[in-house]
């Protein structure tokens, strides 16, 4: 890995293959540039979560490699996890414990925990330490997970469908937060099937369909080339072009 690449990309996924009895992830490769918001799109069941779990080391790919900050995941898992943060939209941890207690334990694991940043994000997101995650709305849960990640100075946030289930106002607020974080140099890999969210904030797009990467490019290049090919003018139209089944004909 050259010095240039180490600085240029925070995440490099190469040739991932994961075989399940009824699903296969095939040759998944993409790179997330530093300071970039990458939208990771695809239909439900396309392989977004499996890819993210493979990237995080939660599932074991049959083939392929994952490198963060120029370091191989398998050899540097603990060092890498000090520098990244993860939030799944539908997941909360210890939903009945007070946030104060969860944070008191979580920060023990991070050498670079920043208490001042933690206080600042808690205040900015109007989070109350005395509440339990189970008492928070879906949007506030995502904000809590972001606070935990940012308080250990995560340089890359991996977010699995963070806007799913949120009302339009919460979604828009979250997108503002992502843009503010990008301005601070934080990189974001953001999986979703809600393409309108990405129209507002993504710099690049990786599109996965049935376990295979269809495209991975800058937003401008991806939408531009799709427009020229007549596939659509925005992400939603492009996705509909690739994915929509013709049920009117099938069921006629």
């Amino acid at each position: 890995m050259s010095e240039t690449n180490m600085n240029e990309y925070v995440l490099e996924v190469s040739g991932l293959r994961k075989v399940y009895p009824k699903f296969e992830l095939r040759d998944v490769s993409f790179r997330v540039p530093r300071g970039c918001i990458m939208g990771f799109i695809g239909r439900n069941g396309a392989g977004k979560t499996t890819t993210i779990k493979s990237v995080l080391g939660l599932v074991h790919p049959n083939e392929g490699s994952v490198r963060f900050f120029g370091m191989d995941l398998a050899e540097n898992e603990q060092a890498i996890k000090q520098r990244i943060g993860y939030a799944g939209g539908a997941v909360d941890y210890f939903s009945r414990k007070k946030i104060r207690d969860i944070v008191a334990v979580t920060k023990l694991f991070y050498g670079n925990w920043d208490e001042e940043a933690y206080r600042r994000y808690m205040e900015a997101f109007s989070l109350d330490e005395e509440k339990a995650p189970g008492q928070l709305s879906e949007g506030m849960k995502v904000k809590l997970n972001l606070t935990l990640a940012l308080s250990h100075r995560a340089e890359l946030l991996i977010l699995d469908e963070p806007t799913s289930g949120l009302d339009p106002v919460s979604r828009d607020e979250l997108l503002d937060i992502f843009r503010a974080l990008r301005a601070k140099g934080v990189s974001i890999l953001f999986s979703t099937h809600i393409t309108s969210d990405l129209d507002k904030c993504a710099d690049s797009i990786t599109y996965i369909k049935k376990g295979e990467i269809l495209a991975s490019d800058t937003m401008e290049a991806f939408v531009g080339s799709s427009r020229e090919a007549g596939f659509g003018n925005d992400l939603e139209e492009i996705m509909l072009h690739y994915e929509k089944e013709d049920y009117l004909e099938k069921l006629a």
């Binding site: 939660l58 599932v59 996890k81 210890f94 939903s95 414990k97 334990v105 979580t106 023990l108 694991f109």
Partner: protein, 217 residues
């Protein structure tokens, strides 16, 4: 490891695990199968695993910058902590029963197991079965608790039934002598049980480390 143990005790442990330590007091109940105290302590630990499952504890821990092997070891150490606290309490209660309360009429005609070093050995063997069957079974999937606990219940009930009645068999009455006249051989049985407890727990923990490392979460 220290931080993972703090996580286990502060976040993942159910209050019921602490509550069920009170089952150690069953040592004092006359005419009761007192070995079942160990079963109730294990039930408290099982409640912690149930609660931790609901709290997405395994995913939370897997995302922390820690070794997977340490995650497994922390679960075993926190379980052993409750087992050994109960064992120590039962040891103190056994000494009280064998000394201060040895003349008490309620313990004179006890058809079941008396509180002796052999009883303490039985406790350790039940805890060893829990570590082998339940903890080892849990780490096959890192989320299924029902099946391994059911197998543990069946095995433990059979073990308890045999252990509580073993002293009726010819030549085995020394097992249940509460007076201390067979103390030497009873302590030898306790020492053997301690070795079995340590060995089965270690074997189970090492196997669980390997299984957990290979799991897709």
């Amino acid at each position: 490891m220290k931080n993972l143990l703090k996580k286990e005790l502060k976040l993942a442990t159910s209050p019921l695990a602490w509550f069920f330590l009170a089952a150690s007091l069953l040592t004092f109940v006359p005419g009761y199968p007192i070995l079942l105290g160990a079963f109730f302590v294990c039930m408290g630990i099982y409640q912690s695993f149930q609660a931790a499952n609901l709290a997405n504890d395994v995913l939370y821990t897997a995302l922390l910058p820690v070794r997977k092997a340490d995650t497994v070891a922390a679960k075993y150490i926190s379980s052993c902590f409750f087992e050994l606290v109960s064992f120590c309490l039962c040891a103190v209660f056994t000494v009280i029963r064998m000394t201060l309360m040895s003349g008490s009429p309620v313990y004179q005609k006890n058809a079941l197991m008396n509180a002796t070093p052999v009883f303490l050995a039985g406790l350790l063997l039940i805890f060893a079965l829990f570590n082998l069957i339940f903890l080892g079974g849990f780490f096959r999937t890192a989320y299924k608790t029902g099946r391994p606990f059911l197998i543990f219940i069946i095995v433990t009930m059979l073990f308890t039934g045999v252990a509580e009645s073993l002293h009726f068999f010819p030549g085995m009455s020394w097992l249940n002598d509460p007076a201390g006249s067979r103390m030497g051989v009873q302590l030898a049985a306790l020492a053997a049980a301690a070795v079995i407890y340590a060995a089965l727990t270690l074997i189970s923990e090492k196997r669980s480390e390997i299984r957990f490392e290979a799991l897709d979460l």
